[in-house]
């Protein structure tokens, strides 16, 4: 043997001038191994690395929080009266991804992946999915609930019970409607975790550092996880990732799970709830 060479799909190369007939070491990245013989001839073989299993983060449960909960730059707080500026005044969901400590390998000492770095153990998933509901939906005697109207000959109206039920479905349902779209934001989060590029656990399994990656565990890993978090948010809240198949906003509070209109909500206008139509 004259030379061993490993090359991954990104053209990163590891070379060994060892004359040993074997080239052993931990492998974390697949590619092609080429051995050059003393006579100048060369032979190649693929190096196939099988991902470790069981690393995907699973959905965390919905957790109901009260007034004063801070989600990013928003503080959830009951306001009175509830006007029609945003249905989020009645309730909101919040996705807060996070993870605990993790162990990493340091540089692999020998073999085709010498110098590569990887995560040794899956960290704890500290993600939270809080939902918040306005106190105006606590019972049917609040100002908001008392202001809701019975369905009349001129307008279909929702009862407070129906509004509450639709809100809970909108924020925390995991169900699918007849168009196979999620009927709630929690379902979008659960579905988003099926996208490997949006699942922090999968990302921990696959991320590697190269020999030149001199701050792999403290800089590279957290920064890359932030990009994974952004992709997960795109599944749940908006369409940041246009390449992601996103069903969009789940049906709102005036609609059933299939997007059919159910009735109006009597929101306040100018600080007062309008009188009910006859």
């Amino acid at each position: 043997m004259k030379k061993w060479k490993f090359e991954d799909a990104d053209k990163n190369v590891v070379i060994s001038s060892s004359s040993s007939p074997s080239w052993a070491g931990t492998a974390v990245k697949g590619g092609t191994i080429t051995v050059t013989m003393n006579d100048g001839s060369a032979r190649s073989t693929p190096l196939i690395v099988t991902p470790r299993t069981g690393w995907a983060f699973q959905p965390v449960a919905v957790q109901q929080v009260g007034d004063g909960f801070i989600c990013g730059n928003v503080t959830f707080q009951t306001v009175k009266p509830i006007d029609g500026s945003s249905e989020s005044l009645l309730g909101a969901a919040c996705l807060q991804p996070g993870f605990g400590p993790f162990k990493y390998s340091g540089s692999i000492a020998s073999g085709p992946n010498a110098g590569y770095q990887y995560i040794l153990q899956q960290p704890q998933d500290t993600t939270q999915f809080p939902v918040w509901y306005s106190h105006e939906l606590d019972n049917n005697t609040t100002d908001f609930c008392l202001a809701q109207c019975p369905t009349s000959t001129t307008a279909r109206q929702l009862s407070c019970d129906q509004i509450r039920s639709n809100l809970v479905r909108h924020e925390s349902s995991q169900g699918l409607n007849t168009s196979n779209n999620e009927t709630g934001h929690y379902g979008q989060y659960v579905d988003g975790l099926k996208d490997d590029e949006a699942n922090l656990g999968i990302a921990f399994e696959t991320i590697i550092g190269l020999p030149s990656d001199t701050a792999f565990s403290t800089v590279t890993v957290p920064d890359q996880m932030k990009k994974v978090r952004t992709k997960l948010l795109a599944h749940v809240f908006d369409k940041l990732g246009q390449t992601i198949s996103d069903p969009g906003e789940p049906p709102g509070l005036s609609y059933d799970a299939n997007g059919n209109f159910m009735g109006f909500i009597n929101f306040a206008v100018g600080g007062r709830y309008p009188a009910c139509p006859n």
């Binding site: 799909a9 990104d10 053209k11 990163n12 801070i70 989600c71 990013g72 730059n73 928003v74 959830f76 945003s86 249905e87 989020s88 909101a92 969901a93 919040c94 996705l95 807060q96 991804p97 996070g98 993870f99 605990g100 400590p101 993790f102 500290t126 939270q128 809080p130 924020e171 934001h185 590029e197 696959t206 991320i207 590697i208 550092g209 190269l210 030149s212 990656d213 001199t214 701050a215 792999f216 565990s217 403290t218 800089v219 590279t220 890993v221 957290p222 920064d223 890359q224 996880m225 932030k226 990009k227 978090r229 952004t230 948010l233 749940v236 809240f237 990732g241 246009q242 390449t243």
Partner: protein, 235 residues
């Protein structure tokens, strides 16, 4: 690290009578070309991302970022070195303190005390058709409120310019990125990642608790296109 050069270009903020006069000026230009990022002496104990609430507007955009290639190469390969200049401009209406200290040790960590500081990481990326690839190592800058020399006070409209250099290697490409970016003209962009951190000692181990802030939008209008050539010439 020792070759780091910091050039103060703007007139001292204290010497100006009105903040308005500072708008549209470069505050600091730093040459980080010879700065080598290395693992700080701690482990990450906890990482939290900012919560995102449905139905509420995103946080206001604080920064605009533009990139200039300093080398004139339009085609790069895995062994090439990329030299670039990143400008980070405060586009909000309020002043912002931005970390500018590349040496973690300059924070003056007392081994027996906990400290809080801010971090700005800058990743160079190639982007095309919604796919992205990170090129090489990040730049990391630290800042601590009790050490004013580690922060620059950017008034609205001011910017800092960072000159950097990295080997243009790719760490983990996905099939999607390979399809859309390799051998295709792609936009060179910088992403800045802001976070707050607390460092504590726990059972003798230095632990960092990392709290990410929402990333500002990436402004791509002035950024150059380059091709990351990964296929062999015979392919």
């Amino acid at each position: 690290m020792s070759q780091l050069r910091i050039k103060i270009i703007a007139i001292s903020i204290l010497s100006l009578s009105s903040a308005l006069l500072l708008s549209g000026q470069e505050a600091i230009k730093m040459n980080l070309s010879h700065y080598k990022l290395s693992e700080p002496p701690f482990v990450i104990a906890e990482t939290r991302f900012p919560g995102k609430a449905i139905g509420f507007p995103n946080p206001p955009t604080l920064f605009a970022i533009s990139v200039k290639m300093l080398s004139h190469k339009k085609v790069l390969g895995p062994e090439d070195v990329i030299s670039y200049e990143v400008s980070i401009k405060n586009v909000s209406n309020a002043p912002i303190d931005v970390p500018i200290e590349p040496d973690f040790n300059k924070l003056g960590f007392d081994q027996n005390e906990s400290i809080s500081y801010r971090i700005m990481d800058i990743d160079m990326e190639l982007n095309r058709d919604k796919a992205s690839l990170v090129l090489g190592n990040a730049i990391r800058l630290y800042g601590m409120a009790t050490r004013p020399s580690t922060l620059v006070h950017l008034m609205s409209g001011q910017w800092i310019t960072l000159e950097g250099r990295t080997r243009a290697y790719i760490r983990n490409s996905s099939d999607n990125a390979r399809t859309h970016i390799f051998n295709q003209p792609s936009l060179l962009q910088a992403e800045i990642i802001m976070s707050k951190a607390e460092l504590t000692r726990n059972n003798g181990e230095l632990q960092q608790h990392l709290f990410f802030e929402d990333a500002p939008q990436i402004q791509s209008g002035k950024n150059p296109e380059i091709t990351f050539r990964i296929a062999k010439s015979s392919d």
